[in-house]
Amino acid sequence: MHASEPREAAPRPIRRIWGPPPAVPKEPVEPPARKAAVSLLLLTVLVIATCGLVYELLASTLASFVLGDAVTQYSTVIGVYLSAMGLGAWLSRYVNEAVARTFVDVEISVALVGGLSAPVLFFAFAHLSWFRLALYLVVLVIGALVGMEIPLLLRILRERFEFRDLVARVLTVDYLGALVGSLAFPIFFVPKLGLVRTSLVIGAINAAVAITSTSLLRGSLRSVTGLRVRAGIVLGVLIAGIVAADRLTLLAEDGMYADEIVYAKQTPYQRIVITRGKGSFQLFLSGNLQFSSADEYRYHEALVWPAVSVRARDGLPTRDVLVLGGGDGLAVRELLRVPELLRVTLVDLDPAMTRLARTMPLLRAQNEGAFDDPRVHVETADAYVWLSDPVNAAKRYDLVVADFPDPNHYALGKLYTTRIYRWMREHLSGGGVLVVQSTSPLFARRSYWCIARTIQAAGLAVAPYHALVPSFGEWGFVLAREGALEAPTTLAPSTRPRRALDDASLRALFVLGPDMGAEPVEINRLDNQVLVHYYEEDWRKYL
C-alpha cells in the first residue's frame, strides 16, 4: 500500500487517541462502539466478497448456457474477471482523496453493473451479433470494480489495525466470502431464483451494503446524502427489475423446461422460449417444442424434399413457394437449397418470431440467415386470414408448405380445416404440391389421420408419410395435390448434401407401420373443430 497520502494524514491523531498502545499491538483496546463498527466493516468485506464471486459465476454460467462449451466459457470469463480485478487493484492507487467516498461509489457501481449483468447479457444475446464482446466488456467492468473494493477497504481500515493483522483479517474474510458465494450459487441461487433474479438480488445486496457503509464510514465522509440517494436509486432500479423479472423468465417456468432458458418473451400471440442444453438449443412456442437444433434437419428435410421430389419426378421445377407458419426460418433455409428456387413467401402470425429468427445470432446461425436472402418475402398475418383475403386470391404456388404448431387450441384448429385446405388447393399452380406437418401418427394417431382425411375431403389426393425426429418422436406429414399422387422414389437435387435423406430413406418415409395405420375419423371442419378434441384426447395418454 502506498504510504504517503497527505490527506489521509489528517485523521492520524485520532488513531493516537483510540489506537492500540505500542506494547500490545495484537490486542487493540477499543471502545465497544468502535469494535462493533469494525466487525460490521469486516462483515461488509464478507458480503462484497460473496457478491463478487457470484458475479463471476453468473457470467460464466450464463456464457456457457447461451454459447455452450462450458470449459471455454468458464476459463475465459474467470480469466478476464481475475485480470480485471488486478486492473481494479492497480487503478485504486490513483484514488488519492476521499477514499471512503470512492469506496461507496464503487459499491454503488458494482451493484448497478453486476446487478443488471444477467438481464443485460440475455438481452444482448437475443439482439446483438457481438454478444461475446458485450460479455467480456461486462465481465471486465465488474471485475475492475470488484478489484478496487478490497484495496480501498484496506486503506480505510488500516488505521484501525496493524498491517499484518489487517491483511490477515481482511483476506480471511474475503476468501470466506468466496466460499459462501460458491456454495450459495449452485445450492440456492440458480435453482431457486434463476440467473436473472440472482443477478438482480445480488446487485440489490451490493446496493444495501453501499447504504450501510455510509453509516459505518460516516466519520470519513463529508456528506452522505448524495451517496445515499444514488444508492437508493440503484436499489430501486434493481427491486423494480426483480418485480419485472417475470417478463424475462417466469419463476414457475424454469421448472417446465429440461434445459436452461436463455430467452423468453411473451408476445400478443404466444410465449417464445429458447432453451440451451448440452450442445443444442430448442425453441418452444407456448410451451410446445418447435425444434431442437440437434435434429431439426431431420424434420425440415422431411418437410421439404418429398414435395420437391414429387415435382422433380414429373419434370416440374419448384420455383415459387408459399410457407405458412415456420417463422423460425428453418423450412425456408431448406427451400433455399432447391437449385431452381426463385421466390419464397412466408406468412407468419407473430412478427416477434420472424424478427427473432432474423436477428438472434443463435437462430440466424441455424437458419443460415434465410430471411436476408433476396428470394424470401415475409408477410405478417394469420395464415387463415391471409388465405381468405381477396388480395391474395390470384397468387399461385408450385409448393405450399403448411408448418403450423400442433392443433392444441381452437385458434390453431382453424388452420387444419377443410376450409383452409380448399383455399390452399386454390393457391396451387398446375401440378402444385401441398405438404402439411400433421403431428405424430404414433402418439396422436387419430389426429394425424383426421388431418389426412380432411385434406382429402378438400379434394386433394394424399400421400401420408413420417420421419423419426428424436426430440419429437415419430413425426407425421401429409403430401397432397390434385389428381393422383404417388410417393416419390428419387430425391430431387439440392445445393447442399442432405444429412437424413437419400433415395432409399426417402422411399422409407412413405411406409407406415401398422401402429400408425389409418383409423376411422371425422373430417375437421370449421364448424365442428373435431381435431382439437382428438388432439387433446390422443396426447393425454402420453403427457
Binding site: P268, Y269, L349, D382, Y384, V385, S388, H409, Y410, A411, G413, K414, T417, T418, R419, R525, L526, D527, N528, Q529
Partner: protein, 550 residues
Amino acid sequence: MSGPSRRELLTTLLGASAALAACRKPPTRPAGELLAPDLERAHRLVRDGAPFPREGVREERTRVAVVGGGPAGLSAAWRLVRGGLDGVDDVRVLELEAVVGGTSRSGECDVTRYPWGAHYVPVPVREARALATLLDELGVVEGRARDGSPIIAEGVLCRAPEERLFHRGLWYEGLYLYDGASHDDLAQLRRFREAIGAWARVRDAKGRRAFVTPISHASDDVASGELDGRSMRAWMDERGFTSPRLRWLVDYGCRDDYGLSSEETSAWAGVFYFAARLGETGRSAPLMTWPEGNGRLVRHLAGVAGARLRTGWIVRNVVIRGEREVAVEGWDAAGAPVRVVAERAIVATPRYVARRIVPALAEAIAREPGAASDEALAFDYGAWVVANLHLRDRPSARGCPFAWDNVLFDSPSLGYVVATHQTGLDHGATVWTWYYALTQPGREARERLLSATREEWADVALADLGRAHSDLGGLVERVDVFRWGHAMVRPRVGAGAARRRRDGARSSGPVHLAHTDLSGVALFEEAQDHGVRAAEEVLDALGVRSPSMR
C-alpha cells in the same frame, strides 16, 4: 352519474352482486355514440297525426310501392324483381330510416363489420325454399342434402366453438352447464331433448311438421292449441322439468329469441325455439352467421333493390283507390310532400305502424271481435339495448378460450357475440356486440330503456362483462349503444294461435301486409316468408307469371 344512483341503476339492470362488484372499481367512460330509430320525426308526423297537405304534392308513379325497408320489405322487393318486375320504376321501396335493414342492420369499422341486431339464421330446412334461393344467390350453397335441404359452405356455418358459458369464474364450452350437473340434472336434460324431439317428429295428415320455419309450412292443427294457452315455465312444471340448469337454459332461450322470461313466453313459442331447428335427422340445424350478422342478408337484398330504394321517407297514409290503385302519401327525405301512385302496395311495417297508416286496416281491426285484446296481447313489442364494444385487444378469460356467443350464467343480459369470430381473426382489435332484453311489459320496458343514457348503458355493459373479464375496462375504446324501443314482437302466453293473426286482415284490396310480427315471432325466415308471400300475391294480381318460391 353519482355513486348511489349508479349503484341503483346497476342493481336494477344487473342485480345486486354485479352492482356491488362494479361499484368497487371506478367506472371507465369510453367514448361512443347513441343510436336509435328516428322516432322523433315518425312520432310527430304519424302518431301525433300531422295532416297531409291537399296541395303542392308531387306525384310519382310505380307499379308496386313497398312501405318499409326491413327484411320483409326488402324480401318483397327482391321477390318482385326476381319475378319479372325488374324495371327501375316498377318497384319503389320507401324506408323511414336513413339506412335499410330494420333490426337486421349492421355497422362497420376499420377492423370488422358488426351487427346491430339479428345476428344468425339456422341452416334452412327443406321447407324454407325462399331462404335457400337467397343463400344460393350469396354463393354459399354447395349442394343439396338427401332430404332436400341445402348444404351450406363451411365459411358461413358458425365456427366452433359456438357458445361458451361463464359460471363462477370460469368459461365452459357450450350453453348447458355440464360442470357439476347431477345425475338427475342430466336425466332431465335427456328427457327434455326427447320431449322436444317428439314434437319435432310430429306430422299431420298432409305430412306437415308441427314446428317449422317458415311457420306457413307448419301444420294448422297439431301444435298450437295444446301449448299456446300456457307459459313455457308452466309447461316445464307440468313435466317435472325442475332442474335449475335446464330451467336456466330454457329461460335463456326465451329471453334470447323473444325478449321474454319463460314465465311469460307461450309454451308454443318455447317449444318452437328448440323444435323448429331440428331437421329430418333430429340433429339441431347448424347456425349461419357473418361478421355483421343478418346485415349480410340485408346488404344483398338492398343491392338487388338498388335504385328502387328511397330512404328517409315518411309515409303518412296508404289510401286505397279501388281494386287497382293505391296512393302512398308522405314526405320524401327533403321533407317535400309526395304521393306515390301504384297498382299495388305492400306494407312491410310492424303492425303498430301499419294500423296507423292504413285506414282500411284500422277499420278492419275495429270490426274484429275482441279487437282491443288483440292489440294488447298479440302484438306486444319488447325493448332491447344493443351495445357495440370496440376493443383494442382481447381481454383475458379463464377456461374455454373463446367462442362466438358468450353468455354469463348469472346475468340478466344475453352476453355478447364476437364479430371477428367467423373471419378467424383471433388476435388484436375486435368488436363485441352485447345484448340486453328488457323483459318487462312494453310500456315499462320502453320507459326503462329510455331512462338510461348512452353513458349509463355503456357502464351497464362494461359492469356486466367486467365480471367475466377483469381487464376489459382498459381495452375498450368506444361503446356505441342502440336503444330499440320496439325491437321484436313477443309471443306471450295467451297471444292466441299465430295462424289466426296471420290470416286476419293480411290484405285489403290492393294493399298487402308483410311483416314477421304476423307470425308472432321475430325471425328473418318469417319476415322473408311474408315479404315473398305478399310479393307473390302482387305478382299474381298483376298477372305476372312466376313459379312460387315458397
